[in-house]
Structures are given as C-alpha cells and as structure tokens.
Point group: C2
Chain length 360, copies 2
DNA sequence: CTGAAAGCGCTTACAG
DNA sequence: CTGAAAGCGCTTACAG
C-alpha cells in the first residue's frame, strides 16, 4: 500500500521518463555503451560513429535524462555542492550566491543552500547534513565551520586556517586605506567607527586593518569613538542603535566609518532624526556598495566589495579543487581588491550645531 | 587510476564515515533492523526496546549518517525540492526563499535553487534538469513553467492554470484598493502608473486589478499616464527610465503608483534630478516593502507583500501535496493578503512648478 | 569496438 | 520480533 502509493507519486513520476534499460532494449545496444556515449567517453572506447549517432538520436527522441541519484551513487560524483550562509535574504549572501551560481551551473553543478542564522547548533550540524547529501565540497559565506571536513571548503569572508580550507579574502588593508585616506583628504580627524558584530568573521580582520592604516596615515583612533553593532536584525536598526550609543558619549566627531552600508544608512537616519545632516554636519562612509547605496539619500560614499565576483571566484576555486589533487590547491588566501565609490555622504568637516552632542 | 583517484577524493570521503554494512557487522544485527530503527519505523515492526537502544547508541557513537543518495534511489523519496527564481540576488526572490527554507529544513528537506534570468532556454531546461535531480516538487517564483510536470508545482506570483500547479496569489484587488484609496483620500485624481515588465507574471493580474478598482473608486486612468518597465536590470534604472518617459509626455499628474519599490525609488531619484520633490510636488506609492523602503528618503509609502510568509505558505503547501493524493490538493489559488504602509512619499497634491512638465 | 556482470548504499516486500 | 535477498538506475572494472 505504502509501496504502491510511492510508486504512483514517486520520483519516477511522469509518463515521459525513460531509463537506461528501456533505451538499451529499444536500441539493442548495451547500457554500457549508451552510458559511454552519453557521458562523452565514446572516443576513449572507440565507439563507432554510427552507434553514437543512434544513441544520441534515441536519447533525444525518448527525452532520456540520466537519473543523477543513481549516477552519483555509483560514480561517487554528485555534481552538487553545499553553500552555507548566515541568512539567504540578506543582500550580501544573495549577491555572492548569484556569482557562485554563474559558475556552477555552467559546469553542470547544482547547489544546496542552508542558512544557519548564527545559531550554533545549526552551524555545527549543517556540514555533516550536507555531507550526507553527498556534496563534493562546501562554500561557506561568512560562516565559521569548526569541524575538519572530508571535502574541500572555500570560505568567503570567514577565515579558517585549516589545510582543506581556502579563503577568499577581501584586501581589508586596501579597503581601509580607501576610506580613511578619503576622509583624511577631506580634512577629517575625529573619525568614529562602527565595528561589525562579533559573529561576523570580517569584523576582526577589518578592524585590524583599520588600526594599521590609521596609524600609517597618522590618524588617531579614540576608543570613545568606537562602537559595535550588536544584534542580528537584518535591517538598519543595529546601525541606528550603535549611532545613538555613539552620540550619547558626547564626544566630538566629524565622520563615521561604518562596518557596512546597512549600518551607514541606519546611522544617517538616526543622525537626521537628531538634527544632524549628512554630509553637512557629519560625513558617513559605508562598506559593501549594496543595491540601495546608490539610491540612498544622500547617495552613499562607500567601499565596494565585488560580491558577485567573489562568489564566482569561490566557485571557480572549489571546482578547481575538486578536479585536482591537494598539492594543486591554492596555498594561500585568494585576495580580492575592493573599490571605492565617492558619492554624496561625505564632505569636508563642519562644526556641528552646538546642541548636537547633548541629545539623549 | 581514474577509479582510484575518485575513491580517494570521492563522496565516501573522510575518515569518519560509516556505512550500514559496517554498523550491522559491528552490532551483529541486520541492516534491515538498523534501517528500521533509524527511520522511525521500529514500532511498526515491534523491534525490542533493547535492540533499538543498541542501534541508536552505535549510530551516535560511529556518527552514522545514512547516505541520502542511496536512500533516495531506493525509496523514491529524495527529500529535495527545486526552486526556480528569476534572479537570486534580488530582494524579492531571496525573501521568499528565506520563508521556504524555514519550512523545508524543519521538515528535513533540502532545496536546489536555479535562476533563469528570464532566458527562455533556461526556463525550458531547468524543470527537467531538476527532475533528473529527482526533486519531489518544484516551487516557481515569478517564473512561468510551460511544461506539464510529473511532480507537484507551487507557483508564487506566476499563475498557471494547470491541474498540478497550485498558485500562491497576492490579493491584487485589495492591494490596488489600498494604494488607490489612499491616493484618492489625499485628493489625487491624475495618477500615473508604472506597470511591470511583460515577463513578470504579476504584471497582468495586478494591472487588471488596478483598472477594476480605479473604476470602482471613480478614478480615471489616462493611457497617457501609463508607462511600463522595460529592461531587466536588477537596480532602479528601469524605474528611472520609465519615469523619464512619463515626464516626456508632458501630461499633468500628481502621483505615481509604481510596480515595485525599486521602480518607486528610481522614480523618486529621477524626479528629484528634474527638480520635482517627493511628496511635495509628486506623491509616489511603491509595492513590496523591501528592506530599503523604510530607509529611503523619503521613506516609501508602499503596499506590503508578506514575502517571507508567502515562501512559508508555498513550502507548506508543497509538502502537503507531497504527502497527500491529488484529491487532497488545494482546489484554488491560495490568497495572501497584502498590507499597506503609510510613510512619507505621499501627501496631498500640490500644483507642480510650472516648468516641471517641459523638461526634456 | 562492445557487453555481461558486479556493485554503489540503502529500503522493502517477503518469509519466518 | 528479525533477517536474507532483491532491486533502485546507474557506471565501471573486466573480459573478449
């Protein structure tokens, strides 16, 4: 009964599905030969042109598509990879995913997406769940994979020092230089910083780079002007909160360098509500160059991460790792160069209205 | 050689992976029994408590995870579905995906995503590619699936009248009513419309609803005030272009109802560049309530689509269809109620500056 | 140049 | 209550 039901509604499903056996019987050719023709190894086995033609034609006519499950099980190649993201609905992840997809589908690979939403138990379970799904490799976007996996891993903005993990890393130093040099040139000296959430792996490396570059440029970082994004809301709220906390300290500053565009937009909104105009009173530099950055009011000056390209590079790298032995794997992180987009959220500093820093 | 290499790097992969046979040998219990215990059918076969305990413990100890490929192949249940989207990096699709994921992972399902980017050959190929991947069902987001498939299909904002397709449909009539009633109350009579791209399946149904509701409210629709989004860029550019075309017609209007928030934001940007302020000179109503709508300047008045919920409903519906026979499937579209968010891009109409409609 | 047979790792009638 | 054996639909040594 249960068996019967699944036979009706099961994977074999529709009217039109042909299997190898049927095709073989129809052509009076062995499954072996058909498989070889369809998998492009005909030449290796010197299968006659005539046979190849017959097979190809019949396959088309019967609309034959090999069952990937069976093929994967036997051949140990699933042509599937897993992608771990914090949250698929965020622009960051979905932009990278778009690049990954470009490469993968071109190579005949499909991918599973899992979002862990920063929950540790999901972060722990997902890698092995993906492995039980027979993925050949994993791309982790801003996600720390703790376990050592049996498949190659490429990490985008999440740096692991493990032998089987290759990192795709933004050049944070250059990024920091872009932003700070720009602010310095405009004349800013009192610059506030909104650091990223602790769970984001970019936070540390970017902050280190900022400190280093600031020192090089002779810019002092006042600990009183450093705040950190706290919670995990998808929107701009954590940027607002952080900016409010910053204002509460009552310290003078003329610019903010935000961890990302969302935080920058949140900062601008909050500043506006307290009577501070951007960039007239305060300049704000974002990070990422998300879709909304250009259409924000004012349009955001921001460090541009080439997210889609990072996805493409990640996928390309993983595919390469799948095809070569470990000694062919990249030895180091793969460095991605950020851009810088000057729009209208930055300007030379001006003295802020006198009550600005005494709002509650 | 090739065989050997794949055995090294293949799916069986890591050190820690155990298979059923090994486990059975170790426990001196048949694979059958182990499989039953692990699949939760122990009760049905009255497997003794003691045996169950031993199996469970060993499975944990050896970190046994059934190979889903093998299991799917035999049982005809892949616990995988396919999701077709126009473009994964767009907020619309990724918000719906987020809701889908909520439900699916809870039920032990994984999903493949494919983006067709409105290319017809991809739209045609993907369904059968997904079927060859043994998906049990497909969710199509804003994507017309032409073929009749052998698996159940749920369409989100893409309405097919086919027996095996269930539609998740926004109540466009209510949506149109929200927006037009709001504009009417404010005093607007000359309302311009930016229609959606022809490839978007929502375009037609929404426009029909708008025409109907406009008639009901006694609002006239001037064909001269109707423009359409043309190209397929992900950003706000098509909204700008459409608005420019609208202005070029030199007709008076006091409000715009845009097909989506991106177009609305594009419209606002373009209006601003030609010296028209929103909402002082022109009111703009968006559609979707994407993340950027609230932080736009001015914050967007917009029809809210509960995208994540639509994803959840789509997944729930598909899972339900997979578990019941066809007579248990929903007979009609499943209707989703839109909300309406009044922010600051709308206001009572004012006479526009006299040169406004003679810009080139 | 081609094919018969084994086997991937499971689940499931079938038998007891 | 439990298990031996068949089989899902492929690919791949192996043999000729």
């Amino acid at each position: 009964m249960a068996e019967k039901k699944s036979a009706e509604k099961g994977l074999s499903g529709g009217k039109e599905k042909t299997d190898l056996k049927t095709l073989a019987r129809h052509l009076d050719i062995s499954q072996t030969t058909i498989s070889r023709v369809l998998n492009g190894t005909a030449a290796r086995y010197r299968i006659s042109e005539a046979t190849q033609q017959r097979v190809l034609e019949a396959a088309r006519k019967f609309n034959y598509q090999a069952n990937v499950l069976a093929s994967s099980l036997r051949s140990k190649r699933s042509r599937t990879i897993g992608v771990m993201v914090p949250e698929i609905s965020e622009g960051y992840s979905s932009a990278v995913l778009s690049g990954i997809e470009d490469e993968l589908l071109f190579a005949g690979y499909f991918y599973f997406v899992v979002s862990h939403r920063h929950r540790t138990e999901l972060l722990r379970q997902y890698p092995s769940l993906l492995l039980s799904r027979a993925v050949e490799g994993i791309i982790a976007i801003d996600s720390d994979i703790q376990a050592d996996l049996s498949v190659p891993v490429v990490a985008v903005s999440g740096h692991r020092n493990r032998p089987s993990v290759v990192n795709i890393e933004l050049d944070h130093q250059l990024a920091a230089h872009h932003a700070l040099e720009h602010l310095k040139q405009l004349g800013h000296r009192r610059i506030a910083f909104i650091k990223g959430q602790t769970f984001s792996s970019d936070t540390r490396s970017r902050w280190r780079a900022i400190c280093k570059v600031a020192a090089e440029l002779g810019l002092e970082i006042d600990p009183q002007l450093v705040v950190q994004l706290q919670d995990d809301g998808p929107g701009v709220d954590s940027g607002r909160t952080a900016t409010a906390a910053l204002l509460e300290r009552g310290q003078l500053f003329t610019a903010i360098f935000a961890f990302n565009d969302l935080a920058a937009i949140g900062a601008i909104t909050l500043l506006r509500e307290t009577g501070l105009e951007v960039p007239r009173h305060i300049s704000v530099v974002g990070f990422d160059d998300i879709l909304g950055a250009a259409t924000n009011n004012p349009p955001l000056t921001t460090v541009r991460q080439p997210l889609k390209e990072m996805g493409r590079v990640a996928a390309k790298t993983l595919l390469h790792m799948l095809q070569s032995s470990k000694d062919g794997w990249p030895k180091h992180s793969i460095r991605i160069l950020p851009g810088f987009v000057e729009r209208h959220s930055t300007a030379p500093p001006a003295v802020p209205p006198r009550n600005a820093f005494h709002s509650n």
